[in-house]
Symmetry: C2
Subunit: 372 residues, 2 copies
DNA sequence: TTGTATGCGTTATCAA
DNA sequence: TTGATAACGCATACAA
């Protein structure tokens, strides 16, 4: 069944049917009704392939799914993906998946995807200093939004060689520093004075940001953070080792804020007294532990953790994208609604000129459980 | 750039270029080479939309992603999805996502997806008794494979009204009964004699299957399972309550096999002595607990659990699909390889006529940790 | 406001 | 073995 079938049944030309679908206001009310009836009676739906060939747009957005990897933190991007799929459907888009082992491979994937599918946009996750992906896409005028800020590369900006000012692009992010600050502040409020931090090695944008939340909070409380932080690659075992090291100092911290639930899990193991699990039971030396990401593991074992508003973040990404793709028109063609980012995530639109791309910084929330 | 660009450069007709791409054997070696050179020199890639319009095939497969839902078990389908995306790419396909709140909504989604995108196939997960989705798809000759067996509905098959024999379709599944049996057998070997089972309420195909693995293993060991099992909806709290109930009997079990990691987590909580976590520390009454799915939570807290070979299962699904879609030809058009299901999952091809659709039952493995 | 003609890039049919 | 032509379903420019 094609647009011609509908046209015959409604006794109009194909063009009129097309107009009813794409520019309803150009068709007389009566005719429009007749065509609409024919459409529903026939159960007609426009063929995307044909439409795409004509318009060059596919109503498809691509997002990367990480290679199979087990682990505590893997669920974060998955949850974002769930939210994104739902948000996309609400806006009349579909999500296509691709994999890539590293940023270079990801750019290859863009190339191959774009060559074949006329994708409307990409959603990028996990941005870092001087992200090559955004540069590649921007250069080719491919619409995209990043879940993660465009972290400026300090090395590059200090270089006189080139200004290296990346063109601004729409992004959504969660304020990690604020999340860690919330956790730290709460520990201060609970009476803790020696609060340690267990994070990732310096150099990762997200990791450094989270660490800064702890650092500045202690400083503004008049406390000295010196010597109270340790760094380790993300992971249970690594976290345990680093936490042991941190607890071995002369005056060990009474609480440890961690950059991830994995590290926090390791830290819990480290503070665990022989013969007992310390959470809320008073069975060992009470060291409060907080994690980051509020993964299922944290929920399961009662770990206090910073929760990212992933579904709202995904919805924001789609909103930003539809702003670009549908030229600022509110809502999709078939009248679905837009989510208001300011509603559920404590969203803050920041910076940029009013006509520039949207930038949304979401505030995470602290989920308090038994571990601290 | 189109096929015409390539044709001009190679000094052939468009059709010859098309033949080089789709039926290389029909083109003389010399010409083929010339065309191939032009293709690489130009970096030409076929436009999927145009190809799709002509052939009616999109090289797109659809799979459902569940609505955002936090929880221990959520990761299972996510991990399958990761594997499927990778396997699809290896076969020259892409994965498109959709959501649906229930089977009815899922069928609506099929309808809308099919109307718009000419999808090549669907991958269904979480089959249950008398699955309406498979019937709907089969009726319309839409290719699909299920991750999960086509459980026969006992109520329906006993009805004289209709034979209700579903047309056989390709499927891949993991032998849950065998996984639970492995766990149970290991506990028997370790000396346990009173082994309880904590599962889901009777009626769910997967749940009943897992329970049967425990039941038959105890029976064939000459033990009486009576009174040693409890049922609860999946969840931490529910598992804890049911486990307490199970441990309150006169002669309580010394080990509990659980149908999921969520339930197992609850059970761990139930057997936890006040003041200590019992895993491997001898701090309380030692009751061995095993879970199912080997989720990140299990890995994190040292829970023995049955691990499903999800990546191999996903690869099998794609193999079965390419068998149908590419008409049994080995490998995709561009010469990627097929994974051999018999390699990494302990695959067993079962039943069915040799010419019938493929059916693959994978064997899970037991990951032994401190909890039992 | 409605209808006609044309082209998007590809593959299938058929003739050379 | 290769090439010319038509057709897939839709949207756009333009004519009516």
């Amino acid at each position: 069944m094609t647009i011609a079938t509908v046209a015959r049944r409604a006794r109009v030309s194909r063009q009129t049917v097309s107009n009813v679908l794409n520019a309803p206001h150009m068709v007389r009310e009566e005719t429009r009704e007749r065509v609409r009836e024919a459409i529903t009676a026939l159960g007609y739906r426009a063929n995307q392939a044909a439409r795409q060939m004509r318009t060059g747009r596919s109503r498809l957005i691509a997002v990367r799914i990480e290679p199979t990897r087990d682990g505590v933190n893997g669920s974060v991007l998955d949850r974002f993906l769930h939210g994104l799929t739902e948000a996309a459907e609400d806006s009349g888009y579909r999500v296509m998946l691709y994999t890539a082992a590293d940023p270079g491979a990801e750019i290859d994937a863009y190339d191959s995807l774009l060559g074949a599918y006329d994708l409307d946009a990409f959603v990028l996750t996990g941005t870092d200093h001087g992200d090559a992906r955004t540069a590649w896409l921007a250069e080719r005028d491919v619409p995209f939004v990043t879940f993660g800020r465009p972290w400026d590369n300090p090395a590059e900006t200090s270089s006189p060689h080139r200004a290296a000012v990346p063109a601004p692009h729409p992004w959504v992010d969660v304020d990690g520093a604020d999340g860690v600050a919330q956790a730290t502040r709460r520990l201060l409020d609970t009476g803790h004075r020696r609060i340690g931090f267990l994070g990732w090695p310096a150099g990762s944008a997200v990791g450094d940001d989270r660490r800064s939340g702890w650092f500045t909070t202690l400083r503004s409380a008049g406390l000295d953070p010196t010597g109270l932080d340790r760094a380790a690659p993300d992971g249970f075992t690594q976290g345990e080792a680093a936490a042991r090291d941190l607890l071995a100092v002369a005056e060990p911290p009474t609480a440890i804020v961690c950059a991830s639930d994995s590290l926090a899990l390791g830290a819990l193991q480290a503070v665990r007294a022989p013969g007992g699990w310390p959470i809320g039971t008073g069975g060992g030396p009470e060291v409060a532990i907080t994690g980051f990401d509020d993964t299922p593991v944290a929920q399961a074992i009662g770990l206090t953790s910073v929760s990212q508003p992933l579904a709202p973040a995904a919805a924001c990404c789609m909103d930003l994208l539809t702003d670009v793709l549908d030229g600022g028109r509110r809502g999709a063609a078939d009248g679905r609604h837009r989510t208001d980012p300011s509603l559920d995530g404590g969203a803050v639109r920041t910076g940029g000129s009013p006509t520039g791309p949207g930038q949304v910084l979401l505030r995470p929330s602290l989920v308090v459980r038994q571990s601290g």
